[in-house]
Assembly symmetry: C2
Homo-oligomer: 329 residues x 2
DNA sequence: GCGCGATATGGGAGCGCTCCCAGAGCAAGA
DNA sequence: TCTTGCTCTGGGAGCGCTCCCATATCGCGC
């Protein structure tokens, strides 16, 4: 058994166990068509040699890849700072582990989305999870069967997508503000081309309209400073607001800073409700009332579904719930 | 050119461009030994066919992999919630993009660290970044040349590592509290087996000791609730504390909650300084004084260094700086 | 005791690429 | 004109595996 510093291969294990390469392959892939006696011998030999299958060779010979690709469209700073992405990555990584696949992650700015296929190594991934990939550009990253792609954050027509129930969550949040006696309720939304953001705006608007009140939405960019500036503008245009619904907790943290800087008390003068139930919601003073949704679970579902194959165009909507804290009561 | 729904291969491009496979290979890998005329023809054919190189075949034939593996030892919840990991992932992902390599991410609990090699697909990675991998276990994940591994968060003897200057950062923070007139300064540290945590505790202790004061450290687990509980215990043992240095901002947010619940005013009764300068530091009220360090840059350095190869055992220490906000003044 | 199907094992082909070496083509010097 | 020395191109081998088919082996019923 002359290995040099070469890693052991199937062939080496086969030689040591005195069986053929094929038999070793059957053992390591868990095929049942091996006699227990031979199986044990092979397992022993593999263990002794410290054999580990070569992923690239498998992918090549088996015409498949055991990797889930995650493509996130977001700014560098946004990706680094918004707790949403940390939770998302965590959900994907853990689901993949469970499913026995590896995770490859890529972030890109919208302008460079077309480069993604070339950059991603172009393997035939077991699954692909698209995050915030704009509808019209989803085709550009279709480097695989659409059945094995799932979109998050924006719906991308021909492929499956998953989202929290943004509309219902926003309705609950807005209804809660109404029930707390607020009637001049503004909203700081996220980007207008993101379906999470628009869904939340829609829910908010529908409740206000049904109550005979006038909705007032400003759009920001899912960052705290962006939201702070947007809130500034909103407050300037409508100084009489008594409540603010904000499309993410990170943004809400920015809004709270604007309010504090203006000496506006929360919740006394203005009540604030966020969305996400992420870490910032629990750090602010007062703590944020927010809409909770299972980011990690959504990410896990997307991961597993992309691997097992989804009905293209199907959608999975996850429930939301209101968490009432000090910022609205 | 009969392709079926097969993806185009080098051979297909070669046929269309009327050259050999080798020549196409030279063109796509950017070898200079191709005449401009042929190069142009091949590039055109590749473009027409939408050719993308097959990563697995490359890795197999070229006996190398263009992937950086990231192994994070952290609890599921910790990984999802601590903004540190989001920034870390962001830094790695962007550096890898720049270096033209892909990123594979894995998280594991300490108990399962031994499974990592089997789970990671066992390729010969271009580089490996180990995060919080305990010293004595680093060997277990050595599925590649130690020259191509970089450790973060804990030093792992035979391989290179990078860290913020935890000792200096903690010294600065503690000195700042002293200068602000505080003298009964406690510390809530992270886990005692994490070199970031111990470095911070060391810096704190050295300053207090030099000033003739008695240090008081409790260890927690880098989570907000853990820190809140630890602070509770600390306050119980030393009710006269007038300042608290906390080893991370996320933990400091938990500590602030404990203080608020006990009716202790910040900074009037107790000043608080955190570490990391992450999102929670900017969300609390008052905002946290904290020690800033370039997490994304450290992660990027680790990524690039793991790929290019490091001196095993070498260490790179990144500077820290104090950011003074309301929680300490 | 012979044939039959079922089960276990071996070996060839080939996945798409890179590496290496051989050969073709060309310019310039003897 | 014939070499010498280059640059450019082609083709074979082989990376480590999976798939498929051929063959060996066994047990069982008649």
């Amino acid at each position: 058994m002359e290995l040099g510093d070469r890693r052991p291969t199937l062939e080496d294990v086969a030689q040591l166990a005195r069986v053929s390469r094929s038999t070793v392959s059957r053992v390591v892939t868990g095929s049942p068509r091996v006699s227990p006696h031979v199986r044990a011998r092979v397992e022993r030999a593999a263990g002794d040699l410290g054999y580990l299958p070569h992923a690239a060779a498998r992918a090549l010979a088996g015409r498949r890849d055991d990797t889930v690709a995650v493509v996130v469209v977001a700014g560098e700073r946004e990706f680094a700072e918004d707790p949403y992405y940390g939770r998302l990555v965590s959900g994907v990584v853990d689901a993949a582990q469970e499913a026995g696949v590896r995770v490859r992650i890529q972030r890109t700015d919208e302008a460079y989305l077309a480069d993604v296929p070339a950059l991603s190594g172009s393997a035939r991934f077991a699954g692909t999870v698209l995050v915030n990939v704009p509808h019209q550009l989803a085709g550009e990253v279709t480097f695989r069967d659409p059945r094995h792609m799932v979109s998050l954050g924006r719906s991308a027509d021909p492929i499956a997508y998953a989202n929290p129930d943004n509309v219902a969550g926003a309705r609950t949040a807005t209804t809660h503000l109404l029930a707390a006696g607020r009637s001049r309720i503004g909203m700081v939304a996220g980007p207008s081309d993101n379906s999470c953001s628009t869904g939340r705006a829609l829910g908010y608007q529908s409740v206000l309209t049904a109550a005979g009140l006038r909705p007032y939405v400003v759009f920001a960019d899912f960052t705290a400073p962006g939201a702070a500036a947007a809130a500034e503008g909103l407050l300037h245009a409508r100084p009489d607001l008594d409540a603010l619904f904000v499309a993410s907790d990170l943004m809400a943290a920015g809004v709270l800073q604007t309010l504090a800087a203006r000496g506006i008390r929360v919740p006394d003068d203005v009540a604030v409700v966020g969305f996400d139930d992420s870490v910032p919601a629990r750090c602010t003073a007062p703590a944020l009332t927010t809409v909770t949704h299972p980011v990690e679970q959504i990410a896990a579902w997307a991961t597993l579904t992309s691997v097992s194959g989804a009905q293209p165009g199907s959608a999975r909507i996850f429930p939301t719930a209101l968490v009432v804290r000090g910022s609205s009561t």
